[in-house]
C-alpha cells in the first residue's frame, strides 16, 4: 500500500485512473436504474486483496469527492483491522474527511452490517460483497444463474428455503438472507445478518454493492421495496436477543457475544460500536457497564490482533 511517488512506480490520484472511474460510474448508474440487477463491470486489481473489500473500495473511490465524509465499518465496528486499513487508504489517496459517527458520514462503506442509527436521505451505504449471486450456492454456473434471473425463475431458491423448513423446522439461513427487490430481482444483501434485512426496505439512503473479485455492481435506490423471501406459513423473522447490550443497555440491536473467561462466561454487547458509544455518552448503561471494560482489558490483550 505504499503510495509514495518514486522514480519507477507512481500512482494516480484516488488510486483509480479516470477511465476506470468512468467505467465504474456508468455501472453504478445502470445498477440504480435496474434495482437488484448485478451489472458486470471490469473490476480492477486494487492494492488490497480480493475478498477484502475491493468491490466496495472501487465503488467508494469512484463516487467520493472532497466534500464527502467517510465512515468505514467491518462487523459494525469502526476499529476492526480491515476497516482501519480501508479508512487509512482513503485518507491517504483521496485526502478525505473521515468519521466514526453514522449521522455525520455522507458515505459509509461497510462489511457485514448496516448501522443501527437510521440512515438519511443523501447518505450512501457502500457494501463490500464477496459473492453477489444469491443463486450461486444452488447453481455454480454463471451461464445458468444468468438465465434464471433473465426468466425470473427463482423456484430453486424457494425449494432450498423450503427444504430447510422440512429438515430443521425453520429457514436455516442466518446471514446473506436473500431478498427480492422491487418485486423483480432476487438479490444477495451481502453477508449481513438477516437482522439487518428490514433496514434495507424503503431506506432513505442509496445502497450500492460492489463485488470486486466477481466483477459485479448492484444497487438499491432510496425508497425501494426490499422484501426478504419467505412463506406464508413461515414468515421471515429476525433473531432477537434475550438480553440487552451489557454496556449501553440497548434493546433491538444486533449484539456480539464476548467471551469473558475460560469457563463459559460471556456477555452480549452492541456490534455497532458507534451506536453503543453514543448511547453511553447519553447516559445509558447496561448491567456490566462498570466492570465490563476492566474485565475485557484484563482478558483480552489489546495488541495481539483478533481471534474472532
Amino acid at each position: 500500500m505504499t503510495m509514495q511517488a518514486t522514480d519507477i512506480a507512481t500512482y494516480n490520484f484516488a488510486y483509480l485512473d479516470e477511465q476506470t472511474k468512468r467505467m465504474i460510474r456508468r455501472a453504478i448508474l445502470k445498477g440504480i436504474a435496474i434495482p437488484g440487477y448485478q451489472v458486470p463491470f471490469a473490476s480492477r486489481e486494487m492494492p488490497m486483496p480480493y475478498g477484502w473489500g475491493t468491490g466496495g473500495v472501487q465503488v467508494t473511490a469512484s463516487i467520493i469527492g472532497p466534500g464527502d465524509v467517510l465512515k468505514v465499518i467491518d462487523q459494525g465496528a469502526d476499529d476492526t483491522t480491515n476497516a482501519v486499513s480501508i479508512r487509512a487508504f482513503f485518507k491517504k489517496v483521496a485526502d478525505v474527511a473521515v468519521t466514526t459517527e453514522t449521522a455525520k458520514a455522507t458515505i459509509i462503506q461497510t462489511r457485514h452490517r448496516i448501522p443501527e442509527h437510521p440512515l438519511t436521505a443523501g447518505q450512501t451505504l457502500v457494501y463490500q460483497v464477496p459473492i453477489p449471486e444469491p443463486l450461486r450456492f444452488l447453481e455454480p454456473r454463471e451461464t445458468e444463474t444468468r438465465k434464471m434471473h433473465a426468466l425470473e425463475e427463482y423456484g430453486l431458491m424457494h425449494v432450498k428455503l423450503y427444504e430447510d423448513i422440512a429438515r430443521h423446522g425453520r429457514i436455516a439461513t442466518t446471514y446473506a438472507y436473500p431478498v427480492k427487490v422491487e418485486g423483480r430481482y432476487v438479490m444477495d444483501p451481502s453477508p449481513t445478518p438477516k437482522f439487518d434485512n428490514p433496514k434495507m426496505h424503503m431506506s432513505p439512503a442509496l445502497q450500492l454493492f460492489g463485488a470486486g473479485r466477481e466483477k459485479r455492481i448492484y444497487a438499491v435506490p432510496p425508497f425501494t421495496e426490499v422484501v426478504s423471501l419467505d412463506f406464508e406459513d413461515h414468515p421471515f423473522e429476525v433473531q432477537s436477543f434475550d438480553q440487552p447490550c451489557a454496556l449501553c443497555g440497548a434493546h433491538q440491536v444486533y449484539l456480539d457475544e464476548v467471551i469473558l473467561d475460560d469457563h463459559g462466561g460471556h456477555m452480549f454487547v452492541c456490534s455497532d460500536t458507534d451506536h453503543c458509544e453514543k448511547r453511553r455518552e447519553e447516559g445509558h448503561a447496561g448491567h456490566l457497564a462498570g466492570d465490563a471494560f476492566a474485565a475485557l482489558q484484563h482478558n483480552v490483550p489489546g495488541d495481539s490482533g483478533k481471534k474472532e
Binding site: V84, H112, R213, K215, R216, E308
Partner: protein, 369 residues
Amino acid sequence: MYVAVKGGEAAIQNAHRLLADRRRGDRGVPALRLDQIVEQLALGVDRVMAEGSLYDRELAALAIVQSRGDLIEAIFLVRAYRTTLPRFGYTRPVDTAAMQVERRVSATYKDLPGGQLLGPTFDYTHRLLDPELANGGEAEEPAQRDAQPERMSRVSEILAQEGLIEADGELPDDHVTGDITREPLEFPMERDIRLQALSRGDEGFLLALGYSTQRGYGRSHPFVGEVRIGEVELELDVPELPFAVPLGRIRVTECQMVNQFKGSAKAPPQFTRGYGLVFGQSERKAMAMSLCDRALRAREMGEDITAAAQDEEFVISHSDNVQATGFVEHLKLPHYVDFQAELDLVRRMRAEHDAREDAGVAETREAAE
C-alpha cells in the same frame, strides 16, 4: 471488537514495521539490489511479469524483493500497479515466426528447417546441488552461433502444407479482440479471451489441469509440435503515421501443441492445436497452457465435456491466483457477526433437539412402565 479494536490502528502500524524488519532481515547482510534479482533470479522475474501481466523486469524485481520472495504476492503488487496505468493503444499481433530464437525444440520431427536449438534449458542437467554456487560460482562465456535466418517457420505451418492440421481459427470479420483487463468476463467466451485468461493464469493451477488431461481426465493425445523461446518485436499502429512504430522487443515462450483428432460431425480427422504464449521464459507454463487451451476447445470441437480441464467456467473462473489467494485468505478477516447469527441458530436448534430427545425418553419410559 471493543478491545482488540482499541489498539487496531497502532497494531496495524506495528505489524507493518515488523514486516519491514523481517523483509530486510539481518542488517549485516547486504540488501538485494534489483539488478541482482533481474539477472540471477530471472525466471522468478519472468513468472511475476507473466502472471502480473506487465512486462517490466525492474518492477517485477522490486515486487519480488518487497514481497520477500512470495511470487504470488509479487504478482499481486504488479497487477495492482499495472491496473492504474493509462492505456495508449494495442500493438499489432506479434509474429513469432520472426522471433530471434534462443531455444526451439520440436518433439514431432527429428529435424526441421531452422533445426533444434536447445538453448538455456534445465533439461538434461543432472539435478545435483552444486556447492560451487554457494560461493558465487563463476560461469564460462556461452558459445555463439551464426546469425539466424530471418524467419524460422513454425511446425504448424509445416503440417499445414499437407493439410493435416486445422487452419488458424476463424473469427467473424467484425470480431474485435477482447481485453480481459478492460471487460468483465462473460461465459461462454471466445478463444481470444480464454487465451488471455490462461496466459495470466496461475502456473501451478494450469500445470495440474494440464497434467490431469494426460492422465485421462479429458485426454487430448498431445505432441509438442514445438516450443520456442526468444525475442519478438512489438509494433504499434499510430493513426497519423503510414507505418507501424517499433516499440522494442520482449522475450516470450510459445508452445504449439499438436493433438490427434479423429474427427467429428463438425470437422474431418486432422491434427488440432493447443496454444500457449507467455511473457519471459517458462516452458512449463506455456506447455500447461496449451494443454488447457486444447482441452477447453472441447465445445468448439463437438467433444463430450467430461473433465474439469474441459470446463470453461470452472477453469477460467479459478485460474487467477490473485483472486484465489485474496478470497481464500479473506477467511481470516473477522466474521463474528455472521458467526453470531449461526451460533444463535445452532443453539436454538440444539435446544429443540434436546427437548425432543427428552420428550422421546419420557415417552419410552411411560410406555415401559
